[in-house]
């Protein structure tokens, strides 16, 4: 586990790119008094008001209901897709649907299903199905082939699959699915920001009006919900939750099916084609869209992603000792766990939203949000990994232990996790544009605000292909570094 020169070189290259990006990035704090509101927010967090919000119970219930229904649907579809994952077309399809963020899916469905629960359920289920398909198929591939080999040839495919393959894979499938459930809760909460009746809805209202004690109450309850996930989401109770969840999605507004047809046959058809301006009109329309929106959007998305990626790495390296048994006693580790739970349970979108209000608009809030959240996730994984390392009794302590004993042993998995999250960071970077940073999401949101769904769809496609591209590069980097991490504990 000695640091290879390749991993050092790649690290140096990424740090250099990030430093170059810093020159291109807008990192200003524009508020005159950025700490005043932050102090008020912290005051709100320590004086949470659980009673002022009549909707707080509903908010949590809906958040849970959308998460359970969406993740369950995604998991079942993902499992079915995993069975046929060896087909290239299926793999491409899955890569495509997971490259589009939940919020973008929600924005699309909002245009024709409107505020029907289906909008929220599908927004979670579709991208999750793509992720589940990929990870499930990897888990199934990694199972021990021995049981299958000893079976008689007469055993049919289904039985051999169910009795020889599944039992070995099942624990991993369950671990991964329950991990995704936690992600689903975060996704569900964030969907509220576009108007679905989950936590984000109330968080946005309370925050924008400066009711910080309500914000505090909502966030604290959300942390408790996630921190105690293992206590209440017992495998045996899950079927019960899944069956009950659809009944707690709320009624929303009825679907008018004609809208669905209209969306696909008119709304997303590029306007020059709709108006009969032909191919030259289409070309003009596309080049205008590319130059004025897609290009600046892609540029800003890339700049922000690269800075956030390196900062995430830094945060991870600082954060993992918080929960590592090689440093400090149980009390300090306990506190460390609290800090990391907060960092990883708060969706980037929420952190970025809060910091934007406090510091004013620039890339800085987004970068900090991405680094805190993702650093919290990877820090947690690396910290756990460090606890599996046994050091010699006379190993050095403190900073030397960190630098000479642990870091060299942990650096490979660290890079693996970091590059694995590269694509996720980019997906989020694009989406943070909705909050007013000029990444691709900003232009998507602007197109939707102007009721130009044709433009919005093109820009969403651009975002998806950008993600697929980064994912491909990340896979090559990981292959080059011979990095492999167990899928089940990986934070996708």
């Amino acid at each position: 586990m000695i640091l290879s020169s390749t991993s050092v070189r790649i690290t140096a290259a990424f740090v250099a790119i990030a430093i170059l990006c810093l020159f291109a990035a807008d990192l200003a704090i524009t508020t005159i008094n950025p700490w005043q509101d932050l102090a008020a927010l912290f005051l709100g967090m320590v004086t949470p008001d659980f009673f002022s919000l009549e909707h707080i119970g509903t908010a949590l219930l809906r958040t849970l209901a959308f998460a359970f229904t969406g993740v369950a649907l995604g998991s079942v579809s993902g499992f079915l897709l995993a069975l046929v994952f060896r087909f290239r077309a299926v793999r491409m399809f899955c890569a495509f649907i997971r490259a589009i963020h939940e919020l973008f899916w929600a924005l699309i469905f909002l245009q024709f299903f409107g505020f029907h629960p289906l909008t929220g359920v599908l927004a979670i289920a579709i991208p999750y199905a793509g992720i589940f398909a990929k990870v499930y198929s990897e888990i199934l591939d990694e199972t021990d082939p021995t049981p299958e080999r000893v079976l008689s040839r007469k055993v049919d495919v289904l039985s051999s699959f169910l009795y020889a393959r599944i039992p070995d894979a099942l624990p991993h499938l369950i671990t991964y699915t329950s991990y995704r459930l936690e992600c689903g809760l975060r996704s569900s909460a964030v969907l509220g920001f576009v108007g679905l009746p989950t936590l984000g809805y109330y968080l946005e209202s309370s925050f924008s009006q400066g009711y910080y004690s309500e914000v505090g109450a909502l966030l604290l309850l959300f942390y408790v919900l996630i921190a105690t996930l293992r206590l209440w989401a017992r495998p045996r109770l899950i079927p019960l939750y899944v069956i009950a969840a659809p009944f707690f999605l709320g009624d929303g507004l009825p679907i008018v099916w004609g809208n669905v047809v209209r969306f696909f046959t008119q709304d997303i058809v590029p306007s020059p084609l709709r108006d009969g301006e032909g191919l030259s009109g289409l070309w003009h329309w596309l080049s205008d869209l590319a130059v004025n929106q897609a290009m600046p959007g892609i540029w800003n998305t890339l700049v922000l992603t690269q800075i956030a990626l390196v900062l995430t790495g830094l945060v991870t390296l600082m954060a993992f000792p918080l929960i590592s048994r090689h440093f400090g006693g149980p009390t300090r580790r306990g506190l460390g766990h609290v800090v990391l739970v907060i960092a990883r349970s708060t969706p980037e979108y929420v952190i970025a939203y809060i910091l934007l209000q406090l510091w004013g608009p620039s890339m800085l809030p987004a970068i900090v949000a991405l680094a805190l959240h993702n650093g919290g996730i990877i820090g947690h994984l690396i910290g756990r990994r460090s606890n599996e390392i046994t050091l010699r009794p006379d190993a050095p302590k403190g900073i030397e232990r960190y630098g000479y004993e642990l870091l060299p042993r942990l650096y490979s998995p660290f890079l693996a996790f970091l590059f694995y999250r590269w694509e996720i960071i980019m997906r989020e970077t694009a989406i943070l544009g909705i909050l007013g940073i000029y990444t691709l999401g900003f232009f998507v949101d602007s197109a939707i605000q102007n009721i130009q769904f044709d433009k919005a769809m093109v820009l969403i496609l651009v975002t998806a292909f950008l993600n697929i591209g980064v994912d491909a590069i990340s896979r090559r980097v990981r292959a080059r570094l011979k990095l492999k991490v167990s899928m089940t504990c990986e934070g996708h």
Partner: protein
């Protein structure tokens, strides 16, 4: 088996149908703090439900576009739109009609406001000194917070806002614009004058930190817009009943929540100039 399924389907339809048939749903653009919107429009829902003898439900939304989409998708049948969102909505829903507007909405104004650190004072023209400063609109789809201020900025400087200012933002709504300029996050902002005045009256604005530096000429703004097909769904003459009910809204408490002094009839053509402006800026095709 089939029979059972059919029965279950019919039963579920029967459970859903009354809600669909009887509830008249409306929404409003989220131009203000949500608590205030909820108070205001819940009162409107209660009032309309009493006047029209049907269940009336107010559905809050998170963006201007969501209000337009809900109207277009017939998930709401009536909406309190701004000038621009109304034009967008009526263009998308043939047969829909602007039926009532606030008395003030024929003479609506945008205030340009500035933080005290800019040293800007009230003036009769848009001060040239705002060039290079930071600037925030309200929502992207707002008439008073986006369309008209952008129009006048382009007129004064001959350039797009992003070229005039060092930074351009969209606060989301008017209350937030006031707060962002008040705190100095942005040096200059454009805000709906009615929201400004009502917050000023409520003592919510720190006038030492932020002041009005320019007022735009008047233009047409908010209106109630109704779908053309409501009569088929809610009975003959329903549209007129809604219109009459809106025009008769004279409870001072309710009017103050808007804030409007009274409601007067409106028509689609009142908003032709708004549409022209939006076309010039490229917000609508």
């Amino acid at each position: 088996m089939l029979k059972q399924i059919r029965r279950a389907l019919l039963l579920s339809l029967a459970l859903v149908a009354p809600v669909m048939a009887d509830t008249f749903v409306f929404t409003a653009i989220p131009d203000n703090d949500e608590t205030r919107l909820r108070e205001r429009f819940q009162s409107v829902a209660d009032y309309l439900s009493e006047q029209l003898d049907v269940d009336v439900r107010y559905v809050p939304v998170k963006s201007y576009a969501a209000a337009v989409s809900a109207f277009r998708n017939n998930q709401v049948q009536l909406a309190w739109f701004g000038g621009l969102s109304g034009v967008q909505a009526r263009q998308l829903v043939p047969g829909s009609e602007a039926i009532a507007q606030g008395k003030e909405d024929t003479q609506f104004i945008t205030y340009f406001i500035a933080h005290k650190s800019t040293g800007l004072e009230h003036s009769d023209t848009l001060p040239k000194a705002i060039r290079g400063m930071t600037f925030t609109f309200g929502s992207k789809g707002s008439t008073s917070g986006r369309l008209m201020p952008e129009y006048y900025i382009r007129q004064a400087f001959g350039e797009a806002p992003k070229d005039v200012f060092s930074r351009v933002g969209f606060s989301g709504n008017h209350s937030r614009t006031i707060r962002l300029v008040e705190s100095g996050t942005y040096q200059v902002g454009a805000v709906n004058y009615a929201v400004w005045n009502s917050e000023l009256d409520a003592g919510k604005i720190n006038t030492d930190a932020v002041k009005v530096i320019w007022e735009t000429p008047p233009y047409q703004d908010y209106q109630w817009t109704i779908r053309g097909d409501v009569n088929e769904r809610f009975g003959e003459g329903f549209k007129d009943k809604v219109k009459q009910a809106l025009l008769n809204m004279d409870d001072p408490e309710l009017l103050k929540k808007f804030p409007r002094s009274a409601f007067i009839p409106a028509s689609n053509s009142d908003y032709d100039s708004i549409r022209e402006t939006a076309k010039q800026i490229g917000i609508i095709d």
